[in-house]
Amino acid sequence: MSQTIPLSEAKKGDLVTIESIHNESLSVQLLCMGCMVGEEILIEQIAPLGDPMMISIDGALLSLRIDDAKEINVLTQKEKRG
């Protein structure tokens, strides 16, 4: 069952879909880097101290601080891959 969570709570290997971004300036920045609502994100890695997280979107890898990830709501799709 899919549910909405902040991106910061997603686990390594999760495949999620961006549902909404609360912060407007963050939203512009993400758009400029090719991230928009409705896009699929794969959580590639989470740094050992739990911050930042590495995500991939449309083949590109991005590193995102947890503080920013909290502002992004995502829809979980599948459980852990592999």
Binding site: E24, V28, C32, M33, M36, P48, M54, D58, G59, L61
Partner: protein, 655 residues
């Protein structure tokens, strides 16, 4: 524009693109060694320009603008590009913009490109990294894309110089076209909505022009490498090993060329003083200018070594991973994952370390990194530490099972490190910034380093240091020379007269005599008088006026402390630390008759040198890298204050 074929035209060519799109490689391929590096006015963002000749009648002034994702700037770098593109700085020249795009990540690159198109700029799109597109088994219909965007498009692989010739030809053939707006303008539209509409339009276009056959192979390989290099445990071991290599390079491999430079300058100085007649001018030339020049050039090996590594790390994509791995920890102190490189290199020398803070794009995090780096104990402190530790701690003293001398040495390094991060932690609340606090960083795919780029980076960094910081260092070194070579009134002549007789008599040891004379002269100089003048202020730290003089002269560089002490205590050979140590050990306070170098004074002085910013090269490079004297002065005052307070407490505690 057409004024006949004989007229010569210079156009302005702007290179614009996302970070990691290979823009710098395109720039290097276009301009070759014909490039200059400076700063954009008013900011500390590197500006690279170069001139190229396209045809006998057409030249271009190429400007490499900082990488950006869009025209809504979020960092200082991006603001420079934004300002450059939104105000017309063409000086009457025709302007052509080359957008360098990572073809394997077209969606992102096209957003910026579309914004430029809507500013009615003359745009050529260079699709770089076509080799990655091939590896990923994608194909781009260039013709169709060119038609859809109504732009000339040049497929490129700049790493091997592919597409450069075609790009030049496209610039020569460029013709203005009337273009429909990429997206219809809406008055008062929010940035978010505007970017969203652009993204949607781009997506539609790409659906028609890009076909993907299989998995993205290049990014797959990157993921595999990331499994190893950013592994929770293994990743740190690899990182530690690389840090160790960098440290070795800056700390010990650079030592050989540095010794050669040092000896070369001493030889050259001696040669000059022997060749030219004894005069003030010769003195200025030898002790002021040649010594000052030597003090600048000595930094080149360390700068070259550090930037060779940084260029490789950046070029391969590993630097972003370092940032990723260290960011969680360093963020807490207001720093950036990339701060680890300046902080560690600071243990060798603060000057290249501070220059390397440029890789941090957030202004506040970069400033904090620059501010705290000189607190890390650098290699110039070692001679001071060694002399003082040997002076006050017997070599057989132990703390538990450890040799006390070693423990103190380590404690000093630790102290510097703790002071650095504590300072940053406190300061992060005071520094305000208008920059976005979001930190989203692209992790480029792993690639082999381009040695040409590494070479250009080294050459550019060395040039910037020599010509920008060098000026300041020479000026300070001349001032210090005047201060220690001249005294008020006829005090120097009196000393000359006093020794003249003695020096001429053959039976008296001339060398000792000469040493005593230079000691007396130093004491009579402005620096000497200043040292005596500040004695009441440094008494509470346990320092006498002799230490005062050394503190003043060693503002040039910390290791000068040892040389000045040797002069004051009339030890001819400054390298002969054993005899200097003996003389210092026997030194007694003329007022109390007690030993000057007690444990309390020694510890206090050690702490002073751990904290005080006694290095003019650092001051010069900070002024340059922060683009203001403000931070350089705040740093000198802060570190000086910290040193004073800490030394005071140390002295009071131990005495």
């Amino acid at each position: 524009m057409d004024k006949g074929k004989q007229s010569k035209e210079i156009i302005q060519l702007l290179l614009v693109g996302n970070p990691n799109s290979g823009k710098s490689t395109v720039f290097n391929e276009l301009t070759g060694l014909n490039q200059q590096v400076g700063n954009f006015p008013g900011v500390t963002v590197e500006k690279k320009t170069g001139k190229i000749t396209l045809t006998p009648t057409l030249k271009a002034q190429v400007i490499d603008l900082p990488g950006t994702y869009s025209l809504s700037p979020r960092s200082e770098d991006e603001r420079v590009t934004f300002d450059y593109l939104s105000s017309n700085k063409t000086e009457g020249k025709r302007e052509i913009i080359v957008v360098v795009a990572d073809a394997s990540n077209l969606r992102r690159s096209l957003l910026l490109c579309s914004q430029l198109m809507d500013l009615e700029k003359s745009v050529i799109l260079g699709l770089n990294m076509m080799d990655v597109v091939e590896q990923n088994q994608e194909s781009i219909n260039i013709k169709k894309l060119s038609k859809a965007l109504n732009l000339p498009i040049i497929p490129m692989n700049a790493r091997i110089g592919k597409g450069i010739k075609e790009l030049k030809q496209a610039i020569i053939d460029f013709k203005e076209v009337k273009r429909e707006p990429f997206i219809s303008p809406i008055d008062g539209e929010k940035d978010v909505d505007n970017a969203l509409r652009r993204n949607q339009r781009i997506k539609e276009i790409l659906k028609e022009t890009v076909t993907t056959k299989g998995d993205k192979k290049a990014s797959k390989l990157t993921r595999k490498i990331d499994q190893i290099l950013t592994h929770r445990i293994g990743g740190y071991f690899i990182f530690l090993f690389i840090l160790f290599l960098i440290f070795q390079a800056v700390f010990s491999w650079s030592e050989y060329p540095m010794t050669m430079i040092e000896e070369g300058f001493i030889y050259f100085g001696n040669l000059v003083s022997e060749t030219f007649p004894e005069s003030v001018l010769t003195d200025l030339l030898v002790d002021g200018i040649i010594a000052g020049l030597g003090g600048i050039i000595i930094f080149i090996p360390q700068i070259a070594a550090l930037f060779a590594f940084i260029a490789i790390l950046e070029d391969t994509g590993y630097l972003s991973r370092i940032s990723f791995m260290m960011d969680g920890l360093l963020k807490k102190f207001g720093l950036n994952g990339r701060s680890i490189i300046p902080l560690l290199s600071g243990a060798a020398c603060a000057v290249p370390a501070i220059m390397s803070a440029r890789t941090i794009s957030n202004k506040k995090e970069r400033l904090l990194t620059i501010f705290i780096t000189p607190l890390i104990s650098c290699s110039a402190r070692i001679p001071v530490y060694t002399l003082l530790i040997a002076l006050v701690i017997p070599s057989e003293a132990t703390l538990g099972i450890f040799n006390l001398q070693g423990v103190v040495m380590m404690a000093l390094y630790l102290l510097g490190f703790i002071a650095a991060i504590a300072t940053s932690w406190v300061m992060k609340t005071f520094i305000k910034t208008n920059e976005s606090s979001h930190f989203i960083m692209e992790m480029p795919i792993y690639r082999a380093p381009r040695w040409k780029n590494v070479g250009y980076t080294i050459v550019n960094k060395v040039k910037v240091f020599l010509f920008e910081a060098g000026k300041i260092i020479i000026a300070i070194s001349i001032i210090l020379w005047i201060m220690s070579s001249y005294g008020p009134g006829d005090s120097f002549e009196k000393i000359d007269q006093k020794y003249e007789k003695g020096l001429l008599e053959p039976n008296i040891n001339n060398e000792t005599m000469a040493e005593q004379m230079s000691s007396e002269k130093l004491q009579a100089s402005y620096a000497g008088r200043l040292g005596k003048f500040i004695e009441p202020a440094i008494r509470p730290l346990g320092f006498d006026w002799k230490i005062g003089i050394s503190i003043i002269t060693s503002f040039a560089a910390r290791e000068v402390f040892v040389g000045t002490m040797a002069t004051i205590y009339s030890v001819g050979d400054a390298d002969n630390t054993t005899s200097l140590k003996e003389k210092m050990q026997n030194a007694r306070d003329p007022r109390t008759g007690e030993k000057v170098y007690t444990k309390a004074t020694g510890y206090s002085l050690l702490i002073f040198y751990a904290f005080a910013l006694q290095c003019m090269a650092t001051v010069a490079i900070v002024a340059k890298e922060t683009n203001s004297w403000k931070w350089a002065i705040i740093q000198v005052v802060y570190m000086g204050g910290l040193a004073y307070l800490a030394s005071f407490l140390t002295y009071q505690y131990f005495s």
